[in-house]
Symmetry: C2
Subunit: 363 residues, 2 copies
């Protein structure tokens, strides 16, 4: 049975439903990042109150700490972290972006230096599957070979072929039938290689497909250029997940190009630095210009921060080093994105998404 | 009209009601500390959900940052911080405990070095009243001369007389009739001087009386010895507030000696260091012994942390440096104390407080 069922479309934008072992999730949707099983400064209780349906954790990091033994004892990742909605797990391939962690990559797998005890460890596609199968996440991601921005054509080509080969190995090794498995298309920002990679990954029997290696440091207009190349090659009946996106603007843009799912640490990360999303663009509450500003962060936002607190108060918290400032903006930004995704689905369903998109005025 | 109305007693333990400009508070009650208008890592929304009825902020710190101008523009401290229940404000006298801040004390007032711009500033009793009147807190505290632990008899005597003189000056300068004013008894750990100080402060027409200068570093059994000396001198019709207490054990002990109100940063401060209150005593969740412990922090606790998360998960958060570990324990510890205070009131009302106290088995 197909895990994804496609609903109505508005041009390329589409709504649908992903069925996981922990319930159905309406698409398009956004996932906060909980690398170690915790969204920074936002409690599980608060995630539930916002209406978050899933987050993404890093399975490789989890296999190191706390370790698979305690997660197994708890009965899986959901029970260990205390979350009964969706959990996606990344394989760990994305950690190549952290130079203190990544050592080398070859056909066998990715060699990491364990940051906790400095030991070398090879993460193979098979091992990535064993880890994720045991964590019992709802959606496992294939181990991929992600090229960094600025890679040569030779490197992009190698990564594309290796990601395809690893995709096949992951499919072979994947044993947990209650867990969905998604492949990841690469190709960097090379149109020809992205098309080829998307075509190759689409040819394998994955439950869904991700667009990888974007939004990792290359100029942001490349995301807009590359996404339609990928989606065009992908079976419309499969869910499409753009990894690492992102900003409110990028979410709306990518939905218009046919993407169904997103994850990014951006809302919470920027929140910790004082940035707040508003319907008129981002504002920096660490800035002194907000010292006497008694208006809410966003007058249309219904989150508890906007309902109870002013910009001046949040500014005061940042200015005096009170962590609640970071906490409030992490919450507000996630609430803002969640509300945006709900609105996006409603607009697609009523056939007014294109008009909605045109009316948006980000600063 | 008396702001405090005394209810039933069980030996020296008593219930009552404090009427403030922001509603009635049942006593005995506990206040978390929000020095800068924010309880560390616990949101106002979470304080409300726990049932917290009041917290205490530092008026002098507020007068420096964000400054009285913006609080005035907001319409007072409640509106500025987004809290519609009780707010007590300390005068700033307690900041003599911070050597980087405190410079000297004489009959005029306390000289501080402004930690933000290094300028010298004299906080007089009159100024402490003007600041608190303008902040519009529900309860203002007198400026007192608090002796540090280990002070000589001469110093304790000086502090006692000065605190009495300042108390009279505060009463004269206090203009906000919707704000209650509490005096503070000092005397260190000298029985004779504590008795005299309590007697002197009790002779002035305050709305309530605080027991000051305890729980600031002296051995904890002194609290138990000194409290009854103070309460014996105090008019039973006035609310008694033991500043800086404290631990679950001390709260129960002090209630048994006739105290009605408490504040302490202890529950949140220890929570940030991994300590969790339980009905069987404190446990340290940063400790490796909890790595595989899938039981809740306290199996009888109904807080969301205990309902959704295990000791092993909270340990994992501390071990991997996720701030949510600190956040969860701050919340749990406050919830625990709030539940304890509710239980204490019920036991006093049903005449079973002494038995309840005997049955408690702290580790």
């Amino acid at each position: 049975m197909n895990a994804f069922s496609l609903g109505v479309s508005d041009k390329d934008a589409r709504v649908g439903t992903l069925t996981t072992a922990h319930g159905k999730i309406k698409t398009p949707f956004f996932m906060p990042v909980a690398t170690k099983g915790s969204v920074k400064l936002v409690s599980m209780e608060e995630l539930r109150s916002i209406g978050i349906e899933a987050f993404i954790s890093n399975s490789y990091v989890f296999s190191l700490r706390p370790g698979l033994d305690v997660v197994k004892k708890a009965g899986g990742l959901h029970k260990f972290v205390g979350w009964d909605r969706g959990i996606f797990t990344d394989s760990g391939g994305f950690q190549v972006i952290r130079p203190e962690f990544f050592q080398k990559i070859d056909d066998r797998g990715v060699t990491f230096r364990n940051p906790f005890d400095q030991a070398l460890d090879v993460l193979t596609p098979e091992k990535a599957m064993v880890i994720q199968n045991r964590l019992k996440s709802d959606v496992a991601m294939c181990l991929d070979d992600m090229p960094l921005p600025g890679s040569s054509i030779a490197r992009l080509t190698e990564s594309m072929h290796r990601t395809f080969e690893w995709g096949k190995r992951c499919l072979d090794a994947h044993e947990n039938k209650r867990q969905l498995l998604f492949g990841i298309a690469q190709g960097g920002t090379n149109a020809k290689l992205r098309k080829k990679s998307a075509e190759l990954m689409n040819s394998l029997p994955f439950d869904g497909l991700a667009l990888g290696g974007l939004a990792i440091g290359e100029p942001s207009h490349w995301v807009e250029k590359m996404v339609p190349i990928d989606t065009k090659e992908m079976d419309p009946e499969k869910m499409r997940y753009l990894m690492g996106v992102g900003t409110p603007e990028q979410l709306v843009m990518a939905v218009s190009l046919g993407v169904d799912c997103f994850d990014s640490a951006f809302p919470t990360q920027t929140g910790r630095h004082g940035l707040a999303f508003t319907r008129k663009g981002r504002i920096n509450l660490a800035n002194r210009s907000h010292r006497f500003d008694l208006s809410p962060i966003d007058s249309e936002c219904a989150c508890f921060v906007c309902e109870s607190h002013s910009r001046a108060y949040v500014h005061h918290l940042f200015r005096t080093g009170e962590e609640n400032g970071m906490k409030y903006l992490s919450f507000h930004n996630l609430f803002f994105i969640q509300h945006l995704m709900t609105r996006i689905r409603e607009e697609i369903e009523s056939g007014s998404f294109s008009r909605f998109r045109q009316r948006l005025k980000w600063k």
